[in-house]
Amino acid sequence: MDVAEDNFEKTISWRMAGAAGQGVVNVGLILAKTCLKEGFHVFANSENPSLIRGGHNYLTVRISNREVKSHEKFIDILVPLNQESVEKHVKSIKKGGCVIFDDKKIKISDSEKRDDVTFFSVPLEEFAKKCGGIILENMVAMGVTVGIMDLSFESLSETIAKIFSKKGENVVKNNIDAAKLGYDYAKENFGNNERFKLNKSGETSNNRILISGNQSIAGGAIKAGCKFMSAYPMTPATSIMETMASQERNYNIVMKQTEDEIAAINMAIGASFCGARAMTATSGGGFALMVEGFGLAAMTETPLVVVISQRPGPATGMATRSGQGDLKFALNAAPDDFPHIVLAPGDIEDCFYRTIEAFQIAEKYQTPVIILIDKFLSLSYKSAHFETSGIIVKRESMLSEDEIPDNYKRYRITSNGISPRTIPGQKKGMFTASSYEHNEEGHEDEDGNNRIRMAEKRFRKFKELSKEIKPPELIGPSDADITLLCWGSTKGVVEEAVRILEKEGIKVNYMHYVFISPFPEEKTKNVINNAKKVAVVENNQTGQLASIIKEKTGIDVDYKILKFNGRPFYPEEIVEEVKKIVEGD
């Protein structure tokens, strides 16, 4: 499939594939950073099994002079570092694409040969050995790539120097030498390739950084004044911890790796009880261990941000793959009824801004808030720019020493349900928080009327919050043939699918949900009632958003576009499904 080729729209997808341990991901990101230096937009994502050595890994970098928020199904350049990688990916190459490989090491069988693809053979291994070892063959291939794409070698060598600076001068030199051999070889032997060259006009800029979804979450947390994080490593959420830990001393944060997820959530609650903005992050399995603590935060009305980065389950499932199967779990975690606040950022920039919003909500409404992302969003990288000047971060629903009344009651019944809190150290604000049902003072109380009053108070906060949340927007023509409803990480791929469909003359509009709870019932009813056809797009088996829509509005969604093989959607897959639905009658 050829995506439009006008210069502004042109994107190049480059893929390096090999065994775990061949440096596919780390080296691949060097290309992303090089392109960033050149002013291009990039989007990178990787697939790998849950192994440290062996298995099959690949990283795809999509490069353009317009913003790219998604990967695409077909690629332009393939760099296979082992035999298996040819077989797995050669069919994914676009017409006119190429393969950069070492014919002394990798054989292209008859069934893998393609007339519409150029095979650039480079002595990767020989060059790598010249520069210090076979591991450098990925860097030789990087040089070839930069040559073929006509990017500046200086941008590449500066990127290499920066990334390997901690490993010493020799390592830097060896890597640059290897890249140079590849670069020169490409220039001498493969000539000028307009096919793989991107025009620098368009929206090129040097103002962007390369950031992953998890780093963006951590950045948002830091901006929101998060001073305490406790968590237990679990893929794909771990790099949130790592990023927070790396910033501990820059921003006076305590990031505590705990003995388990149960400790993690309880520790964060203890810190938040003392007034520190606190968070934890995990995946579905880890959150399963946190669930009782999640209820504790709700019961004691302690602010808390919990990030769940989904991966396929149940149990260990597929640790390094992606999915959106934990929506209903997040919405229903912990015993009995209490308000669950769940928001699902749609893209990497959104991760930053929504995390700040989550912290503000958590503190104002004294409640746990779940940020629901997934491996695709967590571990994809994107060139991004963040505007922080207009962001307002402020303390909410807390009393200063002078504001504490004489007959202070921590859980005072109020009209909006919010009871301003005090923190340890404040003389007039002493109270006991309890996981038991309690009275306004916080003391255990099992009186039936008290129970109703407190349970209603907790729900009033949710009603108040619902008023504050802006409903999602329907994007696209109002007379569309089909309306797509999506949530969380599918935003970028749906947007890309819509672009492709528009070009093919199919009118589509879509609505992306960030807030799943509180749920925008009226808006949803409105949109569905005015749509010709409606389909949800979800990375899960049963259509969990469709089920929420049914629960909240009584409406059955006509169609479900679902994928649950552990991999994110490609825009092209959505295009195909939408066409089937639109042309279905």
Binding site: I209, T258, A263, N266, I423, G425, S434
Partner: protein
């Protein structure tokens, strides 16, 4: 010095008559008063169990959390604001059973928390099932043919896990109990005070008489609590005689929180959060 009367919340405990929790409650108030702690700078953290209702009766800050999760909450409190005095209180089921993992890790971190375990060798609040410290053979509704598990030895476990103040107390000797807790609170580092405190209602084996004839004080012997291996050896002694007192004390070992330079000045809980400059963060990603 806060008057003990001012530490009364007005709430009244509903423990069984004669329960050791009453002794512990008045002891804790006396400790807070005698150590001249400001009540607003004290956080009493508990879990779930009869004795975990303690924070409701002491006018400080309190947190009655989940069963088994006392130490994680207490750790979060201490790491958010190390200027607070953190006293953790709970039962043996809570601390050595469901919360056993946290016990080991809090001890090895040497975080400055005083952990008091009301050890009655039975699950009281759920009416009499055997606990992690019940003797082998203990007959209960869930072990009608006698418990098969060997009991946990909390003192040995604490010493081997890295706690720097490890004591066992007997609730009937209130002064001795008070001194052990007081010194535990004063100690910089993780302090365990395992309090032998029979459940008069559900434990008909380990009764007051049973303990009284076995107990002797380490302070009345030649024992010195300054050697880890000797302390460990001593901690293995439980039959026929039960030593009480200070088994082990290690001074000068840095606490977890004191090894965090980012908590040297303003505490995480006290940091300003408005207008945080993100340039440094973005620069590290460049």
């Amino acid at each position: 010095m806060v008057d003990i009367k001012d530490l009364d919340t007005g709430e009244r405990p509903t423990w069984c008559p004669g329960c050791g929790n009453y002794v512990l409650l008045s002891t804790l108030k006396a400790v807070i008063s005698e150590l001249e702690l400001q009540p607003e700078n004290v956080v009493v953290v508990s879990g779930i169990g009869c004795g975990s209702k303690m924070p409701h009766f002491i006018k400080t800050y309190g947190f009655e959390g989940l069963h088994g999760r006392i130490l994680p909450v207490a750790t979060g409190v201490k790491l958010a604001n190390k200027n607070l005095t953190v006293i953790a209180v709970g039962g043996d089921g809570d601390g050595y059973g469901i919360g056993g993992n946290h016990f080991i890790h809090a001890a090895r971190r040497n975080i400055d928390i005083t952990y008091i375990v009301q050890n009655n060798s039975v699950y009281g609040l759920t009416k009499g099932q055997y606990s992690p410290t019940s003797q082998k053979g203990f007959v209960s509704p869930t072990s009608p043919f006698g418990a098969i598990d060997e009991p946990v030895n909390p003192v040995s476990l604490a010493i081997s896990s890295g706690a720097t103040y490890v004591a066992r107390a007997w609730y009937m000797d209130a002064n001795h109990l008070k001194e052990l807790i007081k010194n535990g609170v004063k100690h910089k580092g993780f302090a365990l005070i395992d309090v032998l405190q029979p459940c008069l209602t559900f434990n008909k084996i380990n009764t007051i008489e049973w303990y009284t004839e076995k107990i002797y004080k380490l302070e009345e012997t030649e024992y010195k609590p300054n050697d880890k291996l000797i302390a460990f050896e001593k901690s293995q002694e439980f039959y026929p005689k039960i030593p009480i007192g200070l088994f082990y004390k290690e001074d000068g070992k840095p606490t977890y929180e004191d090894q965090l330079p980012q908590t040297e000045g303003k505490q995480p809980a006290e940091q300003k959060i408005e207008n945080i400059d993100m340039n440094l963060f973005f620069k590290t990603l460049k």
